[in-house]
Symmetry: C2
Subunit: 274 residues, 2 copies
Amino acid sequence: MPQTDQPASAFDTATAVTRTEGGVLTTELDPGWDVGGGILNGGYLLSIAARAAVLESPHPHPVALSASYLRAPAAGRASLTVVPGPAGRTLAHSQVVLADDAGPAITVQATTAVLGDEPSAVAAVPPAVAPVGQCLSIAEHAHLAPPEIQVPGLVRRIDVRLDPASAGWALGQPGEEPVLRAWLRFTDEREPDPLALVAFADALPPTSWALGRFGWAPTVQLQVLVRALPAPGWCLVEARAGEIAGGWLDEDYRIWDSTGRLVAQSRQLARAPR
Amino acid sequence: MPQTDQPASAFDTATAVTRTEGGVLTTELDPGWDVGGGILNGGYLLSIAARAAVLESPHPHPVALSASYLRAPAAGRASLTVVPGPAGRTLAHSQVVLADDAGPAITVQATTAVLGDEPSAVAAVPPAVAPVGQCLSIAEHAHLAPPEIQVPGLVRRIDVRLDPASAGWALGQPGEEPVLRAWLRFTDEREPDPLALVAFADALPPTSWALGRFGWAPTVQLQVLVRALPAPGWCLVEARAGEIAGGWLDEDYRIWDSTGRLVAQSRQLARAPR
């Protein structure tokens, strides 16, 4: 939770982890961070697990998280169990389980460390995209969505501005590449930090939507790497599917901060929309 | 273990998992699969965990594995503990811990399923490389290695043929891109399968070697996705670092089979060589 007089951001409130008197970590899963049909966003859930991992770690930042999505948890009270692993001066390992009344929903292998802002020896260069003001706001254009697309709560929490070059699908003109590029920030302008990057790493629609194949692509396993502390401002996200075959697809996210520095990347295996 | 009259391959022998009378799964970690200094290769260790996950699963193939490398285990007897998670008709989850006498060495989140050979809807195209016969055999050229490079046992188990365009570093002429491309197969010509792909997904030297920065890059977290059953023959592997900064690097592997189909991909976060 913020340490200032500022009102708590929607993200910090929705991902707050509390220790009960018995020492158990709990959270209140917010139904507003859904991707449609009452299904909570995978990046949102993972950022809560990351917050719990950091709470129980000697180090302040999540640097590597790998989550298996076992089942979709219900909104409301959930518990977080953190089993610490080896911890050293540079990094610490742990395992986190987020469970609701029906049992474990996601299991996470977490590595925490101290992130800095050292210059890159080899830098991942951001793609060329239109400036934010020339991009398409998903929230503002939600009324244009094809009827089979249910506009989820997530787009009211995270402000997504699609680069026109990868937004044809949203205007009835799907493209040929499974790639989405967008500027992201929290709608209430809370600045990005490592926990926010974890949420951003699964915040776009399935990349198969760029091809005009609308449908839910449930995440099976998601790995997020946080590479540096992000500067304030908009983050640029590129999501790309590499291979879609046999009912499965992979999605890679790369996230740059407002200075053009790579600050996070993710890869997930998901079930392909039919 | 093979079901035929053929002698067991080195890989199948070195990754064999046995159930003791008490029901415990054990393996004998083979010191020959090292990367130098007695450190066993991370892909080798992960393929053993994958074998254990499959043994305890209703499904035959590993499709997603995420491993945290807690510490380097010693060669010799090790145990494998598999905790099954939800299992359905399409896929099953589990957690695997590989431990030696000193405690847990790697923890793995595993997803198993049935892989097929359905055609790709979107295909990752392999890079252009020289044919195997024009590539540089690491094993045959080990005597040319710079004195600071200790030639490990792994290069005698897996036959690595470096594409000349990414092999300059091995001949004293480092390049400017942290990329390695090579043909791989087991030295005893055991054909590839999903377990072999898991081992191949961490089988090349650190990509920073392509830049002439020799040194060990210990894996912190490795995710391997197996995407299809590989055809017999050589596999083509491309390993690429995206960002090297702040003492960390990421490495992506993509593996194509002899027909040019993407069959596996991996991403790891490692500590950068100094």
